[in-house]
Symmetry: C2
Amino acid sequence: MDLTRLPAAWLRDNCRCAQCRDPRNGQKLFQITDLPTDLAVGEVRAGEAAFEVEWLPDGHRSVYGTRWLASADPAEGDGGGDSGDGRTEAGKQLWCAADLDGRLPEAGWEAYLADPAERIRVLESVQRLGFALLRDVPRTERQVLAVAGTFGHVRETNYGTLFDVRVEADPNNLAFTGAAIAPHTDNPYRDPVPTLQLLHCLTNAAVGGDSGLVDGFAAASLLRAEDPAAFEVLTRTLVPFRFDDARTALRADRPLIEVDALGRIREVRFNNRSIGTLRLSREALDSFYRAYRAFGELLLRAELRLDFRLGPGDCLVFDNTRLLHARTAFAESGERHLQGCYADLDGLASTLAVLRRERPLDELAALFDGAGAEQYLGEDVTQAQHMLQAASLAEAAGAAPALVAAALLHDVGHFHGAVTGADLMAGTDNRHSHTGAEWLARWFGPEVTEPVRLHVAAKRYLCAVEPEYFGRLSEASVHTLRVQGGPMSQSEVRAFEAEAFGAEAVRLRRWDEGAKDVRVSAAADFAHYRPLLAGLLR
Amino acid sequence: MDLTRLPAAWLRDNCRCAQCRDPRNGQKLFQITDLPTDLAVGEVRAGEAAFEVEWLPDGHRSVYGTRWLASADPAEGDGGGDSGDGRTEAGKQLWCAADLDGRLPEAGWEAYLADPAERIRVLESVQRLGFALLRDVPRTERQVLAVAGTFGHVRETNYGTLFDVRVEADPNNLAFTGAAIAPHTDNPYRDPVPTLQLLHCLTNAAVGGDSGLVDGFAAASLLRAEDPAAFEVLTRTLVPFRFDDARTALRADRPLIEVDALGRIREVRFNNRSIGTLRLSREALDSFYRAYRAFGELLLRAELRLDFRLGPGDCLVFDNTRLLHARTAFAESGERHLQGCYADLDGLASTLAVLRRERPLDELAALFDGAGAEQYLGEDVTQAQHMLQAASLAEAAGAAPALVAAALLHDVGHFHGAVTGADLMAGTDNRHSHTGAEWLARWFGPEVTEPVRLHVAAKRYLCAVEPEYFGRLSEASVHTLRVQGGPMSQSEVRAFEAEAFGAEAVRLRRWDEGAKDVRVSAAADFAHYRPLLAGLLR
């Protein structure tokens, strides 16, 4: 790679040395104006995994990993066509009702709380489809705030931290009557608009009062295809949205369809209830009202609208910058009580990203609790006990964190791949050291995966070079040794000794043999190793 | 006015009848798609103050006030060139340090709390200049939340409801060290970004740690003038801002300079600490970094930067979408402790609008407490007592609210105009009934102002038509009657009787004579009449 062809300011702005970035928090410690104006790449030393650059004229040194350079190489850049922060149409799955095929993205409250994978699924739905439905949420007042707290922060407004949606005697909002409400977004008169809304159903015994959702991004994208002039007008016309009551006088002038700097749909505001008086030329008003009506008609198409009914305990979470919500009319005598609150998408996205970052550890934890708790092939300990014992022996021996991790995870290959541990016992090598190493390589570097990959080879090696080693093998291990190829030949021994992580694999193997002790029950559990593993994640 | 020339959908969308708008909350009760597609203005009846329209084809009737039509007439529209919601450069006063001439927009905390006019001044400064400084705010922990509560709602983030800015042992942010921080906006990695920031100084004994502010709108506007290509690039390039710590992974892709649909500067984000890796073509990166540097250099110009020092008890409130803030380095040993929080501009604007809406009542209340509490010219009661007694008599007589208000306010003209009440006593007519009516006409309609305007004429009228009336005048009133022209002539009497509010003025006048009773001390105070007056404000 010819680093001198890269934009110098960009490359230098991405230096990750301790002078340029605070190692404690990753923040840059320099301003763009601190860089020399005649900045240029000087001498470059190419290593196996990194390039070292000496900068002209100031002599600063930066190291760039080849992996980072490959992924960030601006030659591959497409001018911002990626989905970026995921907030525009580029990061969404647009839908009409039929696409969802009657299946709402939903989860039970208990499962959502208990299982990170379930939380990821729900939050991904909100990000990708614009909504998700939590079922069986406790029907207690203010519970909606606890729901918001699982992924973000409540946005307090003039309506309070939460609002009750039920019939009121002297409503300051149409929501607090029994009237039907056409598809709309909330609070367009606010800026910043609340980007998320939650609606938690406490009671719904009313006749009517069903819910509807429309994907505003899908509708806007249809409008762009069918009536590009109308789309253009709606992105260019600032509409004065207003809300007034005794203590409040809000106003925001925003377009009905907001696009980002690249023209991608980013936000929809649609709410005739709060549109004030537009003061434009007659021609501009004619164009706007024509386009506004076209969009309004499109939003009412039956095929766009997803209908369902919120039952007691249901909590709907939806993107208020994208989805329009509606409800059918209901008799004011029928009891219907929702509690709602607002929150923001950025906090939800952060929670989701952190959950994803933690995902490998959750997946491994589940392995230890699930399949790992079953019997270890032909041994008296479970698979999980065996791996925890191996890790414990590694720790006691003062092994480096990577090798402790390798000991902890060395047999995960038994749970992966088409050929199983049972097949191995039946005479077919499942190559579990290889499948395990490959599976772990998504998250860990060679210092963890290589000892895992070589731990079966290490048994064959030790049986070849230490005549008495064979006698230490368990009955099952003697059996599998045959399937795995028996003791190594002399040429195999030489090849093994040339492996970069051969010695580590041998140490791991000895702990492996010792970790089948039914008398040992109090080895640390998986949670003990989480911080160590977190530090080794790529 | 030819109503058929107005855009029909626009005119109908602004119908204010009870079918079209919920009279309880002012929200529109119809969707734009509910209107007939072939909507047209049918028969129009023009009245003195309003036009009534019968719509084709549905026969709906709408009434439009002439005053509203004149102010909203789209022929006067200029395509959105007004300042709209006040959030873009069009609603701001851009500044460089010299413009402020060393005078910070500031107020004492007690005065700010006590005086609505002072609150209006402070909040207007935040809206117009981008900041204000409150002095002598109690130096207690969490007080910054109370400051935010005076105009809006705190925006909770991953930093909590408030954050402490002081040196920390293991900072997750450069702010929590003693390092200098160049001008920047906060949290560009969040979307919506917090639009307001508050910083409350509890202690500042450090050497260094001074504050700086730069008007980012002024800087962006300078860039547009000096280097339009750079300005354009910064409005078009989405920059990935990021923040990561153990529990957080925020990202927002936004331009450094955001313009609205009409191209007006609306938001500035500038913070090199959190700019991630841009993935663009080499050409785009070259253009961006050139423009970014040009903007960065401009932001460092000494003439743009306002320097000051936050002392204990100072609370700075500033617009985080516009102003960049900075601080000089300080010794980590010196004690410096700020508490900050985020809030939003829309809530502040709402509070300001409500305060302005209440302003007339506050101004009148101040009149009753201030000048009104002084001695009433030549009478034994004060001016305020006199007017409160008159209102009380009107109430007791079952007068309409407008006439009670007229009685309450009939003498405010003594406090306004170049010719004073003292001049009147010295022989020059101050025409206080006319100046009072004119002053009140800013807020009240003729049903209030006309009886006020005519209350002196009513005295001259009554003395002409009721021979015994003269005997009821107080000594001072006999004196002023002469200055005011004495009893009316016959032609003056006829003209008076033709006045639309002549009868009301006569009723008012009788209460006026009776409202100089030193024995009456328990008339209701001004606060009693506030709701009545609020209902009469235009």
